[in-house]
Amino acid sequence: MLLLEVKREKARVGNMPELPQGTFDMLVLKALSLGPMHGFGIGQRIQQLANDMLQVEEGTLYPALYRIESRGWINSAWGLSENNRRARFYRLTRSGRRQLAVERSEWEHVSLVINKVLQAT
């Protein structure tokens, strides 16, 4: 499951504990659910959504993007950026949308359970 997927790299967070790989992938999917974007922009978007409480490392982002793309949850294609430069844009696919919903409900369930245990006296 999510918290047990401890692989090589983890997303670094400012003062917060490291995110496991699976959780970060979920955030990428969420970011793309708001619309197609290139790699740089995805990093920006996630940071914005997290009110800068999260810093996205390039060394984590791109492997994550490539990995998610190989699972078929996102597509990529060349496009033009805001300043008319050629960039690789990523887009959520239908199965990606489904995956996001699945992971999201799992995450909510897990955090509920954990919180319950922690709140016990």
């Binding site: 290139h38 390039e58 791109y62 492997p63 490539y66 190989s70 078929g72 050629r86």
Partner: protein, 892 residues
């Protein structure tokens, strides 16, 4: 993404690998530039901004690699790279590669050939015949029939018709009974093999004549009423020169002119394993063509002559079908007790057909399979050793690759791919060999009379099996060296002194193990060869009970020339007189059959005064119709009584000579001479007792047998001549005398009796030759393997040798040390081999004639051969070791 989609994506990426690399680079560059721009916006200097941006990426090249791992060719690309590299390695070491591929081709090719033979004989023995997987052979069984396996015997035509009428689980019943005729070719006559078949034969098996027609239902009935024949494509081409007007032409066969009504398609040889049929005649012609017993038998329920096949309806099992026919047979037994008492019906799978050569081939095929599997294992051990040797030579390359970051699994994969290349090339070569060798199947079949044609087919089953062997072989010989290579200890390897990089030990356990296996397997092959060779010699030394030297065998087909009985008798008398006058001819006799010919004897129901048969037993004994003085000419001792003379003719009382075994079995100690025996209902007086000899082959057990005069029974066409002249001279004289009687007649092939006897041991001889050939190759390979290991060990231990010599060891000491190491290895292999051999030669048991599977001579000579080979193999490395210059060795 599904695995399939991923596969296709990776495949497509193979072609665009450069493009993918540049795309990833461009994408990352964009990101860096955006970041740099933002840094500038935040107030950094452009230079610093760009540096900071790049630093955030960390290991840029690693990220690019990861990206390519996901988007690029992946495993497929790695595989393609490995293949390319493998081919390059192959070209760089042509000698070594050629040797390895050759060895493998031998191993894989021989396996493919044998499997195609098995396919040809067991699975689909009849080319062009439809539906063979549901086809079964049908035969009768009877209690009290001598000499046939499982009491198998033939069925009668009325019985078969009844079966056909009453059984529901079959598509059809057909009769296919082998027969022959004599066709004259110049100075000689030749036997052509053919079949008597039921009218539904061609339609049932789905083979339709390319010219003319097959048979029609009415041609099943009537006594010799339909002299028509369908000839084979080969006969049409060879004998009739592909005459387009062949339909309607006539051919004299067995004394009657037959009209040719059809030509079978090319490549169709009938339905008899081991023989190519040249012609087919309908059942109504049975009397003319049935060689076993004279007489019109189509309406005689007690005349058992048909052999045939059935085809099951789809979904019916053998057991169900067997039940049905047995039930019908039981009913017939009750309805017709005089003829059917104790008779049953049995269905056989095609490879167990009792009435053709399939049964004789099985043991030989079994040996062939075992041999080629052994050879394959030996070859794999050998190639494995070769690869180990080469990976030792490539250790620097491996070390460097590991040092700069290759994973061990990648190394193993690459070496395994190289091995796979060898195996694939060898498989291709092997299939080619198998294709060329499929006609060699003919060697396994008994020769003598008639053309033999039985190619094994290379079909998808053989291909699949060969591919499987290829993969197994790769794993056997490539993986071990690969695993060894990947275990290189980097620290040790990078140091200049190579103290045995690949194995790290002085003993080379894997290589020694491989050589041990090779020696063991070769030993087993040698032992098997020795056993079969001895068995063969025992067989050939067995006295058959009649003379083999100084006796010639031939025949004249008077019957086929259209002579009637009286004319045959006159001609035979004339010919006897004329030939007897030829100087050098001691005696001669005509008979219906000669011993050890491939045609069976007639058999008859007998009854003896005072002998009570068991309730379900129908005593039946084989017999031969012979001319006067038969026993004397053949050299069979007459124990008491008299021989037949020219005075025993149709009008004098019928007489018979029985053999010892028959006398013992049916007269139980009393003297049979003077008493009567009833043969097929006719009472005959016994006038002599002959010594029991062998009648069909050298290894048969004594069985009852009797002789009757030809004049009183049926005329025969074989001629046995007792003479010390050579066959060439006699042949000329024979042709001359035969022509003098009738210018149109020719004698059949003239051979010595020894040759006729030898033809029955042909399959054993072939097995021995095969084993000997492969055994030699195996010993050679084992010796090469031993040589390789010893060389390696010697080169590893140069320093130690040098030290010993410096401390006072003489060259001969060193020689002795190395040779004894080699002998020790061999001894280990021999022990393993001996264990293997002792436990497995039991399987040869039934093939060994009067020989124990543990015969010491065979084992002993095998040991001697292996030791000699081992000593030869270890001598050269030992010699080189003894030549070591101690100073140079120590300095290195």
């Amino acid at each position: 993404m599904t695995t399939a989609k991923l596969f296709w994506q990776r495949l497509r990426a193979l072609r665009r690998s450069d493009q993918i690399h540049s795309e990833i680079a461009e994408e990352l560059r964009f990101h860096i530039e955006q970041r740099a721009a933002e840094n500038v916006r935040r107030g950094m200097a452009p230079e610093a901004a760009r540096d900071a941006a790049e630093r955030r990426f960390g290991h840029l090249s690693q990220i690019r690699e990861e990206g390519y791992d996901v988007r690029g060719g992946g495993g497929i690309e790695a595989f393609v790279q490995d293949v390319r590299f493998g081919f390059r390695m192959l070209r760089l070491n042509p000698g070594f590669s050629a040797l390895a591929i050759l060895c493998l081709t031998l191993g894989i090719g021989s396996n493919a050939a044998v499997f195609s033979w098995i396919e040809g004989i067991l699975l689909r023995p009849y080319p062009l015949v439809v539906g063979q997987d549901r086809m079964l052979a049908i035969s009768g069984t009877s209690r009290g029939v001598p000499g046939a396996p499982g009491n198998s015997t033939n069925m009668s035509w009325p019985d078969l018709l009844d079966l056909q009428k009453n059984c529901t689980l079959f598509d059809w019943f057909i009769v296919d009974r082998i027969t022959g005729t004599t066709l004259s070719i110049g100075d000689r006559a030749e036997t052509a093999t053919g079949s008597i078949v039921s009218s539904n034969y061609f339609d049932a098996i789905g083979v339709h004549p390319v010219l003319g027609r097959g048979f029609q239902p009415e041609e099943d009935f009537g006594r010799n009423a339909h002299p028509v024949t369908v000839i084979s494509y080969q006969m049409w081409q060879d004998r009739f020169h592909a005459d387009p007007g062949i339909i309607g032409r006539t051919q004299m066969m067995n004394g009657m002119l037959h009209t040719i009504i059809g030509v079978a398609p090319k490549g169709f040889y009938g339905t008899f394993v081991g023989r190519a049929m040249q012609f087919w005649v309908p059942i109504s012609m049975q009397e003319k063509f049935d060689s076993a017993q004279p007489g019109y038998k189509l309406e005689d329920r007690g005349a058992h002559w048909t052999e045939g096949y059935v085809r099951l309806k789809p979904g019916v099992t053998l057991e169900q079908a067997q039940q049905e026919v047995s039930a019908v047979a039981k009913r017939l037994e009750l309805e017709y007790p005089e003829t059917n008492r104790g008779r049953g019906v049995k269905l056989f799978r095609l490879w167990q057909t009792p009435f053709n050569n399939a049964g004789t081939l099985l043991p030989t095929l079994g040996i062939a399979v075992a041999v080629v599997v052994f050879v394959l294992l030996i070859v794999c051990a050998n190639v494995s050793n070769l690869l180990l040797f080469r990976s030792f030579g490539r250790r620097h390359e491996m070390t460097v690759r590991l040092a700069i970051g290759a994973s061990r699994s990648r190394l193993v994969r690459q070496l395994a791919t190289e091995g796979l290349i060898f195996a694939t090339l060898a498989t291709a070569g092997g299939l080619l060999i198998a294709h060329w060798c499929r006609n060699l199947l003919v060697l396994l079949l008994p020769r003598g009379g008639g053309l033999m044609n039985l190619p094994g087919e290379i079909d998808w089953r053989v291909l699949a099996l060969t591919a499987a062997i290829c993969l197994v072989a790769t794993m056997l010989f490539a993986v071990v060296p690969a695993m060894q290579a990947s275990r290189i200890d980097l620290a040790v390897a990078l140091r200049a002194e190579a103290g045995g990089v690949v194995s790290g030990q002085r003993r080379a356990p894997v290589r020694s193990g491989l050589v041990l296996v090779q020696v063991a397997l070769s030993f087993v092959l040698l032992v098997a060869t020795g056993l079969l060779m001895q068995s063969l010699r025992q067989m050939e030394d067995t006295s058959p009970g009649f003379l083999r030297r100084g006796v010639l065998v031939t025949g004249i087909d008077f019957n086929g020339a259209g002579y009637d009985a009286q004319r045959i008798k006159n001609s035979e008398d004339q010919l006897s007189d004329r030939l007897q006058a030829v100087p050098g001819v001691a005696s001669l006799v005509f008979a219906r059959k000669t011993p050890f010919s491939l045609r069976g004897y007639s058999s008859a129901r007998i009854a003896v005064d005072g002998y009570i048969a068991a309730p379900d037993e129908l005593p039946t004994v084989n017999y031969n119709e012979v001319g006067p003085g038969y026993l004397a000419t053949m050299g069979i001792p007459l124990l008491s009584g008299r021989e037949f003379t020219r005075d025993d003719i149709e009008t004098t009382p019928p007489v018979a000579i029985v053999n010892e075994t028959m006398a013992a079995q049916y007269w139980r100690g009393q003297n049979p001479i003077g008493s009567r025996v009833q043969v097929n209902g006719r009472w005959i007086q016994v006038v002599g007792i002959a010594k029991t000899s062998k009648y069909r082959n050298l290894i048969e057990t004594p069985e009852p047998f009797f002789y009757v005069p030809m004049r009183q029974s049926a005329m025969g066409s074989t001629l046995t001549i007792r003479t010390l002249l050579d066959p060439g001279t006699v042949s000329k004289a024979l042709v001359r005398e035969v022509r003098a009687i009738d210018a149109n007649l020719s004698p059949l092939e003239l051979i010595t009796m020894q040759e006729q006897v030898d033809r029955t041991t042909a399959t054993q001889r072939v097995s021995v030759m095969m084993l000997a050939a492969f055994g030699t190759v195996a010993v050679f390979l084992a010796a090469v393997g031993l040589y390789g290991v010893m060389s390696y060990l010697v080169s590893q231990g140069t320093r130690e040798m040098g030290l010993r010599m410096a401390l006072g060891a003489t060259p001969s000491d060193v020689l002795r040390m190395v040779m004894s190491h080699g002998l020790a290895l061999t001894a280990g292999g021999l022990t393993l081999g001996a264990v293997l051999a002792l436990s497995s030669t039991r399987l040869l048991g039934y093939l060994l004639y009067r020989l124990s599977p543990r015969d010491p001579v065979a084992f002993g000579s095998a040991i001697v051969i292996m030791v000699v080979a081992a000593m030869t193999a270890s001598f050269l490395p030992a010699w080189r070791a003894a030549q070591t210059d101690p100073l140079r060795a120590l300095r290195n």
